[in-house]
């Protein structure tokens, strides 16, 4: 069982009267890769800055391994930051940038040289020690920033959207690289991003933030497959929302739900249900099955858009009642009905048990969530 390394309790922060963090509680475990995910303005960067000590909370406390850090200045915190635009010192060589933290600790020269060489070897930049930051590519600057931040062997590494300035391919390479570093160093990584794909593929746990509050905290799989609310469902991945109504609560932990006039049997959700209750039935595009128009099962509609994505075929289907459905199917060369033409009538279905149910939320909250999405 992993132990709590950093705990944030009741953290609040306002800027010019605007609430950025709202009594936020969070426990970060020792050695984990945790991602703060949310749209811009959700408070994720502010949260990271509070941990680093660049900002101070209006209320609440920050404790690292039992030591209260709430009012400790950044230079006395045992954690380091990788900045969004790297923030390398432009007047210093790569070597001096990486050595900076150790020089501030007044370490002996030999030790500094040895440790800087090791850190540069770790990020495969041994041959670049004498270069200036502006003589390096974006990816190389990124690696210098990482070497500089880990050289003091911090208890925790804070990464503020470190990959956002890189192109897609380099991003993927650096994602793998960061995971490898985290495994090798065994340091806790707190990673900030607005990219849900990045969050899901890299993290042990994901914190979904919105309006300065934690919406959900869980493994990538939990967040994707069992979103806690409509916001998380919309923000993480693409989702079809179907309006349903509880028809009957059965004895055997299942309920019968009326969706598009069909009676479907679903697993009973965690929340209280009663007959006649409106529900959201959530289905990911890859859960949707597109069937021939003459099949017995499913809801009738027609294909309005199809996108060839290489390994999958993504289509948009308009149901007869006007609902739009996203479907993402893997190619199956044996299936003669697989390819559709635009305008072709089809039927839409899914495998019962793959759905996720959420209760109706306040109309206000829902409107807000859709405005953010």
């Amino acid at each position: 069982m992993k132990q709590t390394l950093l705990s944030l309790s009741n953290l609040s922060k306002q800027f010019d009267g605007k609430t950025v963090l709202d009594s936020l509680d969070l426990e970060i475990l020792d050695g984990e890769f945790i991602t703060l995910l949310g749209p811009s303005g959700c408070g994720k960067t502010t949260l990271l800055r509070l941990m680093a000590g660049f900002e101070h909370p209006d209320d609440g406390s920050i404790t690292l391994a039992g030591q209260n850090l709430t009012h400790t200045p950044p230079e006395h915190r045992p954690l380091n930051t990788v900045f969004q635009n790297y923030a390398l010192f432009p007047h210093m060589s790569v070597f001096d940038n990486v050595a900076y933290g150790l020089k501030m600790e007044k370490r002996p020269k030999d030790e500094i040289r040895q440790r800087v060489d090791d850190a540069l070897a770790m990020v495969q930049l041994e041959d670049f020690a004498r270069r200036k930051p502006h003589q390096l590519s974006g990816g190389q600057q990124q690696r210098v920033a990482i070497a500089r931040a880990v050289i003091k062997r911090p208890k925790m590494l804070l990464l503020d959207e470190p990959l956002s300035a890189l192109d897609y391919k380099l991003r993927r390479t650096m994602q793998v690289e960061l995971k490898r570093l985290q495994r090798e160093l065994g340091i806790t990584f707190v990673f900030v991003t607005h990219d849900q794909e990045e969050a899901l593929s890299m993290s042990d746990r994901v914190v979904v933030l919105k309006d300065g509050r934690v919406q959900q905290l869980g493994t990538p799989r939990e967040v994707y497959e069992r979103p806690a609310n409509l916001f998380t469902a919309r923000f993480v991945g693409e989702t079809n929302f179907f309006a349903g109504r509880v028809d009957a609560a059965n004895g055997d932990d299942t309920i019968t739900v009326d969706v598009f006039g069909l009676k479907r049997t679903f697993r009973k959700p965690d929340f209280q249900v009663f007959e006649g209750q409106p529900l959201h039935v959530l289905l990911r595009p890859e859960d949707i099955r597109v069937l021939a128009p003459d099949s017995d099962d499913g809801v009738a509609g027609k294909v309005v858009e199809r996108n060839y994505k290489g390994s999958t075929l993504d289509s948009v289907i308009h149901l007869d009642d006007g609902t739009e459905v996203l479907a993402s199917e893997f190619f199956d060369e044996d299936d003669p009905t697989f390819d559709y033409r635009l305008g072709e009538p089809v039927k839409v279905s899914w495998v019962d048990g793959w759905e996720w149910l959420l209760p109706e939320e306040d109309a206000d909250a829902e409107a807000e969530a859709s405005a953010d999405a």
Binding site: P73, P74, E75, T81, A87, M104, K132, A149
Partner: protein, 285 residues
């Protein structure tokens, strides 16, 4: 020739710029260099033969003394401008954006008045019977007026007053460019305020300091009307010597040589400035 026809606008601009540089920058400087190696002539001002007498005369103890005194006053002026300008520019870069523009505007407003007129205004303030002495006497700080005008101090005050904006503006530019995240990174890596100032802020603002020094130090040696109006007979600048050689002593070769010496000093400072910018990677490689 085809390219001239194809790009008439580009050609016109180039001709204008090169023409300007040729006739208003290069030619006058060549004339000055030419004059400096010729012989003094009471009738035609300069005449052959060519010689280096004027440069030899620069090392005459009398003029060396003027030069050193002038360098001393200019250095004092530059130091005072730097001491006031550095924190001023730093603070200026910290105030909210819309107020920054207003403050810079206020800094530039005095340029709309001729500097000669402003120097005379300063004379009225510093005079024995002037504003400052009267104010100090009326509040009882002094019993009798102080001698402020016609002193070295008055010259330095005048120079600082005229040149301070030239120190603040380039410093403001470098402070404005100084990214907050570099300072954060420095703190993050364990540097306190003093260490961050020494290792990050000073080297990052050095190009601005050198640009400011360039814009203050050399004009401070040349602004001859400031000692003329505010200084005593002993507070001479190199600018006064040059002016005197051309207008009073009619020794053009010597005046030209002195002015070339100032130009060389300027070139040296520009070279140092370029080096410092290259260090932080602003000049490319």
């Amino acid at each position: 020739m085809r390219s001239v026809m194809q790009q008439p606008f580009r050609t016109a601009v180039l001709v204008l710029v090169w023409g300007w540089l040729l006739f208003l920058v290069l030619t006058p400087n060549l004339l000055v260099i030419g004059a400096s190696v010729m012989t003094r002539d009471p009738g035609t001002f300069i005449s052959l033969p060519l010689n280096l007498d004027a440069y030899r005369q620069l090392f005459n103890p009398l003029y060396l003394d003027v030069f050193l005194n002038s360098l001393y006053m200019a250095t004092m002026t530059t130091l005072i401008c730097l001491l006031i300008g550095y924190p001023f520019a730093w603070a200026l870069s910290k105030v909210p954006r819309h107020r920054q523009m207003l403050l810079i505007f206020l800094l530039i407003v005095p340029f709309w008045t001729n500097s000669l007129v402003r120097t005379y205004a300063l004379k009225l303030i510093l005079a024995t019977n002037g504003l400052l002495n009267n104010a100090l006497m009326s509040v009882g700080l002094i019993d009798q007026p102080m001698q402020m005008l016609y002193t070295e101090g008055a010259v330095i005050i005048g120079l600082v007053y005229l040149l301070l904006p030239f120190m603040i503006l380039p410093l403001y530019a470098v402070f404005d460019d100084l990214r907050e995240d570099l300072l954060r990174a420095s703190h993050d890596l364990g540097a306190g305020r003093l260490a961050t100032f020494v290792h990050i802020i000073v080297p990052m603002t050095l190009p601005g300091v050198l640009a400011g020094i360039m814009l203050v130090l050399l004009p401070a040696m040349g602004l001859f009307f400031v000692p003329d109006i505010l200084g005593g007979s002993r507070n001479l600048l190199v600018g006064n010597v040059i002016k005197n050689q051309f207008l009073d002593a009619r020794n053009w070769p010597f005046g030209a040589a002195a002015s070339i010496m100032l130009t060389l000093a300027m070139a040296f400072l520009m070279f140092a400035h370029r080096l410092s910018k290259r260090r932080i990677g602003e000049d490319g490689v």
